[in-house]
Symmetry: C2
Subunit: 216 residues, 2 copies
Amino acid sequence: MKLHTFFQSGSAYRVRIALALKQIDYEPIYVVGGLGSTDLKRPEYLKLNPSAVVPTLIDGDTVLTQTLAIIEYLEEICPEPPLLPSDAAGRARVRAIAQVMVSDTHPLSTARVIDYLDGTLDLSEENLNSWLQHWNERGFGAVEKMLDDDGMPGTYCHGDRPTVADIALVSQVFVAKKFGADFSSTPNVTRVYNTCMEHPAFLDTAPDRQPDAQPT
Amino acid sequence: MKLHTFFQSGSAYRVRIALALKQIDYEPIYVVGGLGSTDLKRPEYLKLNPSAVVPTLIDGDTVLTQTLAIIEYLEEICPEPPLLPSDAAGRARVRAIAQVMVSDTHPLSTARVIDYLDGTLDLSEENLNSWLQHWNERGFGAVEKMLDDDGMPGTYCHGDRPTVADIALVSQVFVAKKFGADFSSTPNVTRVYNTCMEHPAFLDTAPDRQPDAQPT
C-alpha cells in the first residue's frame, strides 16, 4: 500500500494509527510544501483525491479517501486486530464517538477553515482562537459525557483495546493541543488519550515523529 | 424504534431516508421549538445525545447517535435492502462520498455554525453567504469528480440502487438549496439528486413533507 500523508494532518494521523495497529506495511508519500501548497492540487493528485486533502491510501488498483471510510476498509480486508467491537450496539457507540470527533469537531478546526477565517474573513486572533476553543470544547464535552454516561468500563473508549473511537479522539486532541485547548474539564478524554499514548501504534505514528516533520 | 427528529435538520433527514429504504417503522418524536431551542438541552435529552443535536434513534435499550453510525447499525440489524455495495472497494467508495458530504461539507453549514457566524462573529450577510457557497461548492465539486472519474455507471451514486452515498448527497443538497446554492456546474450531482427524488423513500421523508414542518 501507499499512503499520501503529511505529518501535521490530523486526518493522515488517523490512518497511520490504523495501519500501525493492524501492522500493515506501507510506503509513505509525503506532501511537498504543506497542506496549503500546490502539491495537493496537481491534476494527478486531484484524480486520486478530488478534495485535494490527505490522506489518500492506494491498495493496488483501489484508491481510498476519507479516513473513516479507509479505516472501515482496512477493518474488512484485515480484520485482526479488530478496530470495532463485536456487537452491533458497541460498533454503533464506537462509530458515534468517532463521528463526533471527525464530523462535528475536526471540520471546524482544519487548516483550510483556519485559512478562510484568517485570510478571507480577516478574523482577529482573539476571535479565531475563540472559534477553535468553542467547537473543540463542544466536541470534547460531548465525548466526555459519552465516555462517562455510557458506563462502558475499560482503559480505552470502549473496553481494553483500541478502536476507531480512540483513533479519532487522539488525532483531534493533537489538533486541539496545537492551539492550546484546555482538557482540565474532560478527565475521561485525558485518561483515554494518556492510555493511547503509551501504545506504540499511537506514539510512533504521531506527527512529530514522522520523517517529514518540520519545526513549526 | 423511536426517532428524535426535526423536519428541517439535514441530519435527521438522512436517518428518515434510511429507515424508509429499509421499511422500518418508527415513532417520531419531534423537537419542540426548533434546532436552537432549549428542547435539545433538557437533561433527559442530553443523557441520550450529549451533543444536543438530532437525530437520536432509540432501539429498545440501545441509544444511537450520529447519522452514519446509525445507518451502519441499521445495515447490520436489517441488511435488506443493502445500503452499501457488496464489495470492500465499493463500500469504501460509497462511504467516502458520504463522508465528503457529512464530514467535509455539512459541518460548515449547520444551523449552529450559521448562528455562531451570524450571532457571535456578527458576519455580514454577504460574508455569511460566501462562506456557505464556498464550502458547499468545494464539497459538491469533489463529489462531482468522484461520480465522474470513478467510472461507476448507474443512475445513483453507485450503480442502480440507493446507498448511503445518495442519502448523504440528497440531505446536503436540501441544506444547500436553502441558501440558494447553484448546481449548474455539478451535473452528476444533479442527475443523482433527481433520480433519488423520484424514489418514495427520499420524497416522503423530505423536510417539507414532515408533520412537524412549519412555514419558514
